[in-house]
């Protein structure tokens, strides 16, 4: 006998499974990245050709380190969400798709953690 309700059976089985959460997170991170990426362009221009001491002094300012960490976290989250969509669309074969998704997920998480740690170590 089927013990689950119709809603319980249907939940999470749609074409996108948990699509709304993904869609919404992609939009939230996109909006956040508008000011963050503009800030980063200005920061990058200012730091072109800078020597280590200049960079250290710059990242040592709380606001700069904070913005860099926030940028890194939001950027990698957004990149992860986007890469997931691209992989799901273009990688055929369930095993290959899941393997690619896992590799990209792990690599991006590792890169994000490296960036945050690197900011902390110098700041």
């Amino acid at each position: 006998m089927e013990m689950r309700s119709s809603l319980g059976r249907a939940r999470g089985l749609g074409s996108t499974k948990d699509g709304v959460g993904h869609w919404w997170a992609q939009r939230v991170t996109a909006i956040a990245l508008v000011p963050l990426s503009i800030w980063f362009v200005f920061a990058a221009i200012g730091l072109m050709g800078a020597d280590f001491a200049t960079y250290q002094a710059w990242i040592g300012i709380f606001g700069n380190a904070l913005m860099m960490v926030v940028l890194v976290l939001v950027l990698f989250y957004h990149a992860h969400l986007g890469m997931q969509v691209v992989i799901e669309d273009y990688v055929s074969g369930e095993a290959c798709k899941i393997a690619t998704l896992l590799v990209v997920k792990f690599v991006l998480f590792l890169l994000a953690a490296s960036c945050v740690l690197a900011v902390f170590l110098v700041a």
């Binding site: 996109a30 508008v34 362009v41 730091l47 020597d51 986007g82 890169l111 960036c115």
Partner: protein, 130 residues
Amino acid sequence: MASRDRPLSPHIQVYRPQITSILSIVHRITGVALTMGTLLLTWWLVSAAYGPEAFETSQAFLGSWFGHLVLWGFAFATFYHLGNGVRHLAWDFGWGFEMPVLEKSGLVVVGFAVVCTLITLIAAYAAGGA
């Protein structure tokens, strides 16, 4: 699920490339390229954590002609993805789906990306970073 004998939808090569479809795929291409670009950002930030010598190495690479080329591409991809991302957000509010508006907003995004990239280049070289 058996999918062998089911009809296929028309494939990509039967469609004439249009500004809407080109800009759509460029949004994805720049997105993936920017994700690849995070490797460069990570290298740059981590090199500083390894100390002055490693940082000078990454800065020297970014200051080379090839580094500049990569950064120009990075800047264009950033501004294109940013502009077209805002276009996407406008669609999410239900705005701009009419064909003439779609084409016009697409051209605006391309113009925005080109102009912002040029401004960034001029600002970067004027700042003496070159």
